[in-house]
């Protein structure tokens, strides 16, 4: 069993998400950083697809009442097991009575904690992921609170594993987010689209404080609609990574909690950059740059190769 002493800003149970139910409006609620999520499972010897904790913010801590191997991945953090520093991206054995504390998040926004064994949490509609708005899945369908206790079945200590340094994502803003043309890009002025092609200072945006698992609102130079065009659309399907632009011209990056949207879909973040979205924190700068589909596919293939190279042997 583990007991939450301090849940940080928000900590929830996630897995790879719910698929096949979008026609009932059920979003995936997947782990936002798939690479870090998967590695948290691998480092502790769990199967791919198992539940892990996704934590936002520092000051998180939990206490163990069993001996179990754990790992912390994702955002760059300073963490301790009792008084000993913990190396992220490397599994370690915690003993009953130990406390894991994340003191500081140096870069990035979300980190993942995996445990050897099976977390006793709710699997609802084929997934352990927490749908916070609808209150189902994970730990009672809600973010963790101080005092929550999560059972660990088959908790065990295994040999140490680590992810090679050259396989770790580099987190240093400003981040370049590569994008593909979306269905309503034609509703924006040539000057606006030109800015995104150039990918220069003019296409810099700042992550606002309104960033959560549903979407990331950005601030900066408004994107300009052509004169006379409709600024909204008849509500239509969206996929994760879609950039929607409301009437005020400030883009919103749709994450994993919506299936239908009603704003103009300017562009889509390429899949190779989706994990990075989890790590955008308020005030980070991002730069958009339009690329073509062939380049997006190349980037994705490279990312997949990278993924398999990182797996511990």
């Amino acid at each position: 069993m583990i007991e939450i002493i301090n849940p940080g800003w928000c900590s929830i149970v996630v897995d790879r998400g719910r698929y096949g139910y979008a026609d009932a409006g059920i979003p995936t609620s997947a782990a936002l950083d798939y690479f870090s999520y998967s590695m948290a499972n691998h480092l502790v010897g769990n199967e791919m697809g198992g539940p892990v904790l996704e934590v936002t913010g520092s000051a998180f801590s939990l206490r163990f009442d069993v001996d179990v191997t754990c790992a912390v991945t994702g955002a760059e953090v300073i963490a301790y097991l009792d008084e000993r520093p913990v190396t992220p991206w490397r599994s370690f054995a915690a003993r009953a009575g130990n406390t894991l504390r994340v003191k500081e998040v140096l870069e990035g926004f979300r980190y993942y904690i995996g445990f050897s064994g099976i977390m006793e949490v709710d699997r609802v509609i084929n997934s352990f992921s927490t749908n916070i708005e609808c209150r189902f899945g994970g730990y009672m369908g809600r973010p963790l609170l101080k005092g929550d206790k999560i059972g660990l079945r088959h908790a065990k200590v295994i040999g140490e594993r680590f992810i090679p340094e050259d396989a770790l994502p580099s987190l240093s803003p400003p981040y370049v987010l590569r994008i593909l043309e979306g269905p309503e890009m034609g509703r924006f002025t040539e000057e606006t689209v030109g800015r995104l092609i150039e990918g220069g200072v003019q296409s810099w945006y700042t992550v606002s404080a309104k960033a959560n698992r549903t979407g990331i609102r950005l601030e900066g130079k408004p994107l300009v609609f052509k004169k006379g065009v409709n600024k909204t659309i008849i509500s239509e399907g969206v996929l994760p990574g879609t950039i929607q632009v409301p009437g005020d011209g400030l883009p919103i990056i749709t994450l994993y909690e919506r299936t239908i949207g009603g704003y103009a879909r300017l562009a889509l973040i390429v899949k190779a950059d989706h994990d990075l979205l989890a790590q955008l924190k308020p005030k980070d700068k991002v730069i958009f740059r339009i690329i073509g589909i062939e380049e997006a596919e190349r980037l994705w293939n490279r990312k997949v190769e990278h993924f398999y190279r990182a797996l511990p042997q």
Partner: protein, 213 residues
């Protein structure tokens, strides 16, 4: 029908560009047809007012092969067995604490509350799409006399069961959530159940009639 690529893993099939019952019926037919094929290349289908967005599995098939597959399978669409639309009666408490925007809707329309309720309850609505939130029905077509623009700034929270208007649509919030639609009432009918299938009470093509209680 027009086929468009949507990012790396999406195909958007566009059937029209207005809110229209005939277009919706074409989409409904195509959606149930695709669903009946149980193609392992398809991860999700999101039908809505004017299109079907398909999330396909790009690990299994390339975009161009997937398009060919979709087009080839289309030949059999007329063999699809469409589920019979169901009719639902949904009781609503209108106005007052249940409908914080009722006053606005009345003044925007130049009608009394009784007239707005009379108009809202006398139309049989069609479910055009389910989405945004689990089980949220996008329904239409609203009587033009009570056409209402969305809120400029969405509310951070409306209670579960809130019945809202937006332009020529009406909908019901299955969960407490942020909301940009104008809320005129509240129902106790449960629209979504994570614990049993089908999870959504309503499905595309169903019809809904509201009753004032």
């Amino acid at each position: 029908m027009e086929f468009w690529r949507y990012g790396e893993d999406g195909v958007r099939i566009v059937f029209g560009n207005t809110i229209d019952l005939e277009v919706s019926e074409l989409i409904r037919k195509y959606y149930f047809f695709l669903k009946s094929l149980r193609l392992e290349e398809i991860i999700d289908i999101i039908p809505s007012f004017t299109s079907c967005l398909i999330h396909y599995d790009s690990r299994r098939i390339s975009f161009s092969d997937f398009l060919s597959l979709l087009k080839k399978r289309m030949e059999n669409i007329d063999a699809v067995c469409l589920p019979e639309p169901r009719t639902h009666k949904i009781p609503v408490r209108y106005g007052g604490e249940y409908g914080p925007d009722m006053e606005f809707v009345c003044s925007y329309a130049g009608l009394t509350e009784a007239e707005v309720i009379e108009i809202h309850t006398s139309t049989v609505y069609t479910v055009f799409a389910i989405g945004f939130l689990p089980g949220f029905p996008y329904m239409g077509i609203l009587d033009k006399r009570i056409y209402t623009p969305r809120l400029e700034t969405p509310r951070l929270k409306v209670p579960e069961g809130s019945v809202g208007l937006a332009q020529l649509q009406t909908g019901i919030y299955p969960f407490e959530s942020p909301a940009g639609w104008r809320i005129i009432g509240k129902t106790r009918v449960r629209l979504f159940d994570a614990g049993k299938e089908p999870h959504s009470l309503l499905r595309m093509g169903d019809t809904v009639r509201f009753m004032a209680v």
